[in-house]
């Protein structure tokens, strides 16, 4: 196991490269997801505001 982690003396390079790659991949997925949720939340808030302005209740919105 230790031998595997040592990567024949190249541990610093190999694990940095792999760690960086998966960190960036995760960031890609996470930022896309966060943006989607934010847009959805913003639109939902706007939609509610508009219907409430028109004098509707939440029940009517859902109906």
């Amino acid at each position: 196991m230790l031998e595997f982690l040592a990567m024949g003396g190249y541990a610093a390079y190999v694990w940095t490269a792999f760690g960086l790659t998966f960190a960036v991949l995760w960031l890609n997925w996470w930022s896309g997801r966060r943006r989607h949720l934010r847009v959805k939340a913003r639109l939902a808030r706007q939609g509610q505001d508009e219907t409430l302005h028109r004098g509707a209740t939440i029940k009517e919105v859902n109906a």
Partner: protein, 249 residues
Amino acid sequence: MWKFFHQLASPPHFYRLAGLLAPWFLGLSLVGMLVGLYGGLVLAPPDYQQGDAFRIIYVHVPSAYLSLMAYTMMAVASIIGLVWRMKLAHAVAAAAAPIGASFTFLALATGSIWGRPMWGTWWEWGDPRMMTELILLFLYLGYMALRSAIEDRNKADRASAVLAIVGVVNVVLVHYSVEWWSSLHQGQTIMNENARMPTSMLAPLLIMIFAFTLFFGAALLQRLRAEVLEREHSARWVGRMLAEEQANA
């Protein structure tokens, strides 16, 4: 067939389909990555010249491949968007740019980390592939800068589409010019392309490329969902869908 494409391009259908597909893409790509990592880090023997440092190839080459694929996709989507005035195509180009830029960054960073023990330097100005990737990164950043500088979304879509198409001609030119340039002062290359890789090394690489491509698909679909929602913010289906979701919550 046409009807299928037409339906696919309709925003509500696409939004729903993307939401269904994205987790599958992500799950499959994670499985693929685990298999590829096991094959690449454990099963594959160390390289007789580079020792274990060669294993960086399993993240470097897929990133480099996707950096080019994402740019090609962006350019093709831009052409479709300009010629057929298809809004979804512009959304695809907009969503692909930041993902492609991040893969370009990874290709550069992992190449540089690999180059340190092999060449003795973090950066080699004479290497044609590194230079091509660097310029590709500049092109991505320019594309995103132009897109964010134009406020009107329609204009931003079409102006950045023109830039993406001009850029694709440039990537090809850059590649050949840099190759010519480095042939003048004998830049070293990181891999000997004539040496054949044994299957135990090659198979994990192919699996990793496939898994990274699936991941790109998942990230793209995820971003596209946000893009589509933003672009369709005043459409009726968006309001209905959000109201339904709130009722279910």
